[in-house]
Subunit: 394 residues, 2 copies
């Protein structure tokens, strides 16, 4: 039984450089589906639905859509809102009013949870309705899926950034600390390892939230690398925590999901730079810290082609599955082959990805807890694709 009616699509959470690929993939698939009578884009996700702030997505030219697909950040506008019961009821009311039979929500695990709540409400009300969550996150922390659309492009940015910064550090020796996004998971920070093309290349040390961050240990690690190479490049996740499980540094501000603000501040980098200076007390060392910030999720032109294609594919698959099958779920990616790389989509229950998140596997982190393993590079490299080879004279 195929549902006939309108569809609503929205985007939620932190943008990525390929989230609009998923939007365009879904729009183009919906235009092909006769069961979908109208395509409504919700401005700023759930907030737009509650306000009935919709854009008609049936009329844009292919040229407009393709330009949008290649543009970073959520073209419909995004939102950080974890709706409560009252908000979900309002959403559901709007859906009924507009004869919405399909809802596609592009986002991370919080968005999957929103989709799940709405799907459960529809079931309870016996309203024929299909909700699909379309995955997106630079954090790569969704369960079930092999990896998340948006991650590989952010990983490419981080790898390139470290590649250039390592050459900079080799030219003007010193200790350089780069703070990478990743609240609870070190996937993006670990991607910095792709920058290494020779044994002596940075990042020489990588710290992820999956391992307790010990300041004395960090200081000793840096001193050992400097003793060996005369310089040191460090990748550190913004979300590193101490033995008590508290963030090493935070501004204390929280977003509406209750998450502590870690980005948008140079505090952690400055703090760690200070600790390195302490460790080298009396010696003349050059220590600098950069915090990559939002560039990691929004810089145009640095997109992994695998990521762009898969982001398009998950959007398309969501619509095709909804129309053909009607069961709610979340789109996930299965890696079919690593060389040559190939992948396919499948649907997993909303409950299996809602709310909870994953972290880097133990097998991806070295025993010392200060770098990654070859298994991690094997997992990551095909997703990011080719990187430039740095030229060196010595």
């Amino acid at each position: 039984m195929t549902l006939t009616g309108n569809m609503v699509i929205g985007q939620s959470g932190g943008p990525t450089t390929v989230i609009n690929q998923s939007l365009v993939g879904a729009i183009l698939a919906a235009r092909e589906a006769s069961a979908i009578t109208g395509i409504l884009g919700a401005r700023h996700g759930i907030a737009g639905i509650m306000n009935e702030d919709f854009i008609d997505l049936t009329t844009q030219s292919h040229e407009t859509l393709e330009r949008l697909a290649a543009t970073p950040a959520a073209g419909l506008g995004s939102v950080r809102l974890k709706p409560g019961k009252a908000e979900c009821e309002r959403v559901f009311e709007v859906f009924k009013k507009h004869n919405v039979r399909y809802f596609f929500y592009i986002g991370g695990n919080d968005s999957a949870e929103t989709a799940h709540i709405i799907a459960e409400m529809a079931k309870a009300a016996d309203y024929d309705f299909c909700t699909i969550h379309i995955p997106k996150t630079i954090d790569n922390d969704l369960k079930v899926t092999d990896h998340c659309p948006g991650f590989a492009s952010a990983a490419k940015f981080v790898a390139l950034a470290f590649m250039g910064d390592d050459r900079d550090n080799a030219a003007l020796s010193g200790i350089k600390i780069n703070v990478v996004m990743g609240r609870d998971a070190g996937f993006l920070t670990a991607a910095s390892a792709l920058a290494r093309q020779d044994e002596s290349d940075g990042p020489h040390l990588i710290y992820v939230p999956e391992r307790t961050f010990d300041i004395a240990r960090f200081q000793a690690d840096v001193k050992a690398v400097v003793a060996k190479y005369g310089r040191c490049v460090v990748a550190v996740s913004e979300g590193i925590t101490n033995a008590a499980g508290e963030p090493v540094m935070t501004t204390g501000e929280r977003d509406s999901h209750g998450n502590l603000q870690l980005s948008g501040s140079g505090a952690l980098g400055d703090f760690l730079a200070g600790k390195v200076k302490e460790a080298f007390a009396g010696e003349s060392v050059r220590v600098r810290a950069d915090t990559f910030g939002y560039l990691q999720r929004s810089f145009p032109g640095v997109v992994s082609s695998v990521d762009a294609e898969e982001a398009r594919m998950v959007g398309q698959h969501a619509v095709q599955h909804a129309v053909a099958n009607g069961e709610p779920g979340s789109v996930a990616i299965r890696r079919v082959s690593n060389a040559p790389y190939a992948s396919e989509c499948f649907i997993t229950p909303l409950a299996s990805v809602a709310r909870e998140a994953t972290q880097l596997k133990d097998a991806y982190i070295n025993d010392a807890g200060n770098h990654v393993t070859q298994a991690w590079l094997d997992y990551l490299a095909p997703l990011v694709g080719e990187l430039p080879q740095m030229g060196k004279l010595f």
Copy 2:
């Protein structure tokens, strides 16, 4: 009279993404010049000369050199060292010992000064010798030349960064402050204006060191933009100063040129974000700050083709001039035509570029001192080249 002997080439100061183009341009031109008997690369500039730490640059394959040319940061290693009289005497002693008749120094105004001192010493000692300064700086603050190799690529990075970040800010509204490199000159910060493709696009406010930064005025500016667009993207130079001429924020650390450390810290961004929160006291606003840091001068793959070609050209011209003419000087660029863009090299006396630096012309800054003018965009756009068009739904 053509001098016959060895040449030394070195790189100095903060790296750029095209500084190795200049190095390779000079090497290839030197290989063609019969008067140049040997090509010595000094590791880490003046420091390498004093230590006789040279690399033979006569043997590398074209493939190695072309790969190097496309690699960010100084391939020979760089240095931040303003040599005193004793150091210059040592350099001169090494040059005599190795029969060095040509010295090419790639760097900014401090490097031009070093080259100038050495040229004067050679003249006083009646040693037949030619020193050429090859310009390089992302700051674009060298005198005489129309613009500096390295600047346009950094400008392209900044423009792209603002382009993506503005889409991010449009998706998740708030106030976003991005701190851009530029100690005394606002060229790079002003380049953020190239990101604007529509009236409502950011950066909505641009603050450069050429104008006194007044916190109350800044707060009022941000409030006015938020009232109009519901959001605000701000570009601010790391080197902004208050009415007393003091940096608004600094770590207090100085480099060996006596310059205060401004980069490698998120302090200014965090401080300004705090000031914005103060201005909106009581209201719920999302304020974030990023400090772009070293990525601006080292990110691989974001290179202006005009910049890459001109960086190659100035290196080549330096050698060709030295061999043909023998007079010391600094290579400068003259803009021959703006549409289509064309430029040529000429030689200016070392004294004309040594030490002193330039700033943004008054005609490039708007009357309110919080944005740029069309004249600035006309100057900048041909140097940076084509930028992607952002796709929008509304």
